[in-house]
Each structure stands twice: as C-alpha cells, then as structure tokens.
C-alpha cells in the first residue's frame, strides 16, 4: 500500500518537473511569435502593441521568396534522395545477407558521429574536386548525407517490424525479389516512407551548418535568415518569418508523427 502511494507521489513530483521542463523547452521558442506581432524594432518588454506590419514586409520580398523556393526545391530533392537511400540501405541490411550491405548500413549511420562543420568542409573539398563547386546540387548532396542516418533508422525499424513470414510467403509463392519489394514490403511500410521523407525534408529545410559551406550564389532560407540577423532593422521581419516557419514545421512534424503511429498501429494489428 505505502509503496504504491510512494510511486504515485513520485509520479506527481516528476510530472511537475516534466511540466517545468516543457516550459523551459518552449518559452524561448515562443518568444519569436510573440515579438513578431510586437509594434517595435526592439525585441524587449514591455510590448508596444499589436501589428501585422512585419508580416506585410515579408510578403513583398523577392530575396526571401527566392530563398524559400530554393529551400523547397532542395528540400524535396534531398528528401527524396535520402529516403531512397534509407529504404534501400535498410532493406538490404535486413534481408540482403551480405557483409557489404551491413557495412553500407553502418557507414550510412556514421554521420551522427561527425560534427556538421566537418561534414560541411569534407563535402566542400569533394564538390570542388569534382568540379561541381558550391551550388544547389552540392547542397542536395550535403543534405542527403545529413538526413541519411534518420531515414535509415526510421526505415530499418519499420522493415524489422514487418513479420518475416510475409516476405517469405511472397517469395515462396513465386514473386521475384523486385515484386516482393515493390508490391509487398514497400506498401506495408508506406507510412514510414512518408514519415522518413517528411523528417528529411524538415532536416534539409532547417539545415544551416553544412549548407553554409556548400551554397553558391543562391541562398537557402536559413542562409537568408543568417544574413538578415546582422541587421537590427530586419529582426522583426526575421521573427515574422520564423513564426511562419515554426507553424509549418509544427504541422509537418505533427503529420509525420501521426503517420508513424498509424504505421506502427498497422504492424501491431497484423501480428505474425
């Protein structure tokens, strides 16, 4: 009895702690939307009054829309590449039964252990060597690399959750490897594919440390923000932009999360 009361008590204290932790996590981030509606150049209390002025300046900036378009295109291509690699690498790691596939899978998760600045400079040397130079293609390559560990981890856990018997049944019934992969395994892991794509898109969209080295004349959105942060005058506009990005990121991350859980739910409803 008393032990039970104890754990309940612990739970309550821990719950309070978690609440405080969430406040610490969110409070600084929520300042950005708050000040984006504030009618003052300076981000300081007391607030000066409500305005949509900063959002209006956002609307008519060609440099901004250029950077946004760049980020979207790069994000979609890099996310497609990273997701493709994540699917194939983890599939072969689990079912390829070859040391090469296992090695590739291990190396694909290696970028977690390399700081972004080193990923950036190593790719900068590489793209200069092969004549590509800093360009949008180079950024795509960099972002595939940065997102790769995430897509491999997401896809690997999904493939591992599909009962082995399903794939074996398909193969025993005469389906080729390709058919089994395309008609059985891929549809079964569709939610994870989508969630891997969205996560890698978000990674690319927000990435700054690597892109800093690889960008040519056309900046991405984080580079544009970085260039604006130097001018105190443009700070409110940056915060308005930040608010829009926050909102969109929240929506995408939320959707990816829902999809991931739906995927896991299907796996649980169809046990071996």
């Amino acid at each position: 009895m008393s032990a039970r009361a104890d754990t309940n008590n612990d739970g309550r204290w821990l719950g309070l702690y978690v609440l405080g932790y969430l406040v610490f996590l969110y409070l600084p981030v929520l300042l950005i939307p708050l000040f984006s509606f504030n009618n003052s150049i300076q981000a300081a209390f007391p607030l000066q009054g409500f305005t949509l002025e900063w959002y209006r300046t956002l609307y008519g900036s060609p440099a901004l829309s250029g950077a946004l378009a760049n980020s979207l295109v790069i994000g979609v291509i890099a996310a497609s590449g990273a997701t493709l690699c994540g699917i194939t690498v983890s599939y072969m790691d689990l079912y390829g039964r070859s040391p090469l596939a296992a090695t590739i899978s291990a190396i694909a998760r290696l970028p977690i252990l390399i700081p972004g600045v080193i990923v950036g400079i190593s790719l900068l040397i590489l793209v200069n060597l092969i004549g590509l130079g800093p360009s949008r293609v180079s950024i795509v390559l960099g972002h595939i690399l940065v997102a790769l560990p995430t897509t491999v981890v997401v896809m690997r856990s999904r493939f591992a959750a599909i009962p082995k018997t399903i794939r074996e049944a398909a193969l025993d019934l005469g389906a080729s490897d390709w058919t089994t992969f395309r008609r059985v395994m891929l549809p079964l892991s569709a939610p994870a594919v989508l969630s891997a794509f969205m996560l890698s898109f978000l990674i690319s969209f927000d990435e700054f440390i690597v892109v800093f080295f690889l960008a040519g004349t056309e900046p991405t959105l984080p580079l544009y923000i970085w260039s604006q942060l130097r001018f105190p005058r443009s700070l409110p506009t940056v915060m308005a932009l930040g608010t829009v990005i926050l909102a969109v990121s929240f929506i995408i991350a939320g959707t990816a999360e829902v999809l991931r859980h739906r995927g896991l739910g299907t796996a649980r409803r169809n046990p071996a």
Binding site: Y91, I107, V117, L171, F213, L229, G242
Partner: protein, 296 residues
C-alpha cells in the same frame, strides 16, 4: 511436411538475384563510399598537405599538426570546446533523465503526446532557437527587462550575452530533445519483472533505482551523451551568435580556415584532430558501456 518443402526449394534468402542486389545497393553504396568515406579521406589527405592556395595543396608535410600541437591557442580553444560540450552534455543528460523516467514509468496514456511535445522543438529552425536566446539574454533583452520591471536591478547588465555560460545554456536548450529519446528507449526496455523482483526482495524505491534501473539504463545514457556531445563540440553558430570572442570554439576555427583565413590544409588538420578527439570519446563511452551497462 513443411520441412520437406523448405528442403526442396532454395531458401528465400539465398536466391536474391544479382541485378536486384546491385540496384538496391547502388544508391546507398554511392552515398556511403563516395560522399562519406571518400570525402573524409580527402580531409585526412589534405591535412598532410601544405597550403599554396590550390585546392589540394602541395607536398607532404606534418607541419599542420605540429602547429596545432605547439600553438597554445589551439590547446586553449580545443580545451574550451571540450569543457563547453562536456558541460552541455552533462546538463542535458542530467535534466533529461527524469523526463525520460517519467515517460517510461509514469506517463501512461499521455506518453505519446508527451514524446511528441518533447521532440517537437527539435524540428523547428535551429538558427531561430539560438536566436531566441539572443533575445532573452541581450542588453535590452527579455531577462534584463524582466529584472528591471520587477525592480531587482536598476539598469540592464551586459553580463548574460557573449559569455561561455550563454553558449552552454543555449546549446543545452537546443540539444535537449536529443538526450531524452535514447534514455527513454533504454528505460522502456527494462523488464517490469526486474523492478518487481527488486521490490519483492525488499529493495526500497531508491535502492532499486540505484541498483537496478540506473545500471540498466546506462547504454541509453551513454548514447544520449554521444548524440549531444558530437554536434556541440563542433558547433560554430551558437558561439558566433551568443558567445562573443571569449567563447570561440574549435568549430569556429575550422570554419574560418575555410573562409577568411583561407588555409584549407590547416582547417583539414584541425578537423582530423576533432575527429580523433571524438573517436577517443566514443571509445571511452564504449568502454563505459561495457563496464556499467549491458549487464543482462
């Protein structure tokens, strides 16, 4: 019956067609061998070259490493990076542990929602999270105006921004979600029977935490420490934004070698040193994992 069928047909695993295998290994193989291994090889190669302004440098020299080893500046900056990254790692892991514990043992139906809320800030722009701290800590920032508003201070202080402490707080905030997930996964996989056994054998809650839960969650703690330590030790954005000149980190130096300073071979040598330091940390963490964790 089923065994005779299995014997009659080749096992599904052994008959993967070479074309399929090649096509499936190609994208990952290209990326891993070319973009990761070859690119890192280039860095190591460049680190042993002299700087003549050309892309791959000239000659074969160890001068870059000699400079790194003999110039006290690099020792200071490396040491500072290690201390800052170490403090950030300690702070994130220690503060994240109770959250992960709550998620694993107390959250109940709210678990998925909490997990989502905890990881959500990670998906928002890193630059903006760092920038938010600049708003908080600046001379006319939130913290200063709050203190003046409440009458604690009569005038704003410069003491918050441009200090190594600001870098530690900002990085700890930016990487907090990284630490929670690995610890949570480790805690979640501890069999409940283990905890029941401990309490049945008379262990009090704290003893069973110290002797059962903590050792079993060590692999998660070490993984968390690693995923926080690695990106923070090479960070150059946060020191530039909230750190000021007194908190230049090794990432800042590497970045400037490929920018203003324009000495790529030397920057490559610095990068090799950072990778060696990380390798040491990984090996220590591995050793610690073997010693404390995986007691099952």
């Amino acid at each position: 019956m089923s065994s005779t069928i299995a014997a009659a047909r080749p096992s599904p695993e052994t008959r993967i067609s070479p074309v399929f295998r090649f096509a499936m290994l190609l994208p990952g193989g290209l990326v891993t061998f070319f973009l990761i291994l070859f690119a890192l090889g280039l860095v190591v190669f460049l680190a042993f070259r002299g700087n003549d302004g050309s892309l791959l440098g000239v000659g074969l020299t160890s001068r870059n490493f000699v400079t790194v080893a003999t110039d006290p500046l690099y020792w200071t900056v490396t040491l500072r990076s290690l201390v800052i990254a170490g403090l950030v790692t300690l702070a994130t892991v220690v503060t994240a542990y109770p959250v992960a514990y709550y998620l694993a043992f107390h959250a109940g139906r709210r678990r998925n929602l909490l997990l989502f809320l905890v990881t959500l800030p990670f998906w928002t722009s890193y630059l903006l999270r760092v920038f938010a701290w600049k708003i908080v800590l600046a001379y006319n920032g939130v913290l200063n105006s709050a203190f003046i508003e409440t009458g604690l201070w009569s005038e704003p202080t410069l003491a918050f921004l441009n200090t190594p402490a600001a870098v530690v707080v900002t990085l700890a905030h930016a990487y907090a979600p990284f630490a929670i997930l690995p610890i949570y996964v480790a805690l979640d996989t501890i069999p409940k029977s283990l905890l029941e056994a401990a309490s049945d054998l008379g262990a009090r809650p704290f003893t069973s935490f110290r002797r059962v839960v903590l050792p079993n969650s060590m692999p998660g703690v070490l993984a968390a420490a690693l995923v926080v330590f690695v990106p923070t030790v090479g960070d150059y954005v946060t020191p530039a934004m909230v750190g000021g000149p007194a908190s230049t980190m090794i990432g800042t130096l590497i970045q400037s070698q490929f920018g203003k300073a324009n000495d790529w071979p030397f920057g490559a040598a610095l990068s090799v040193c950072v990778m060696l330091v990380i390798l040491c940390v990984v090996l220590v963490a591995r050793g610690a994992d073997r010693r404390f964790g995986s007691r099952t």
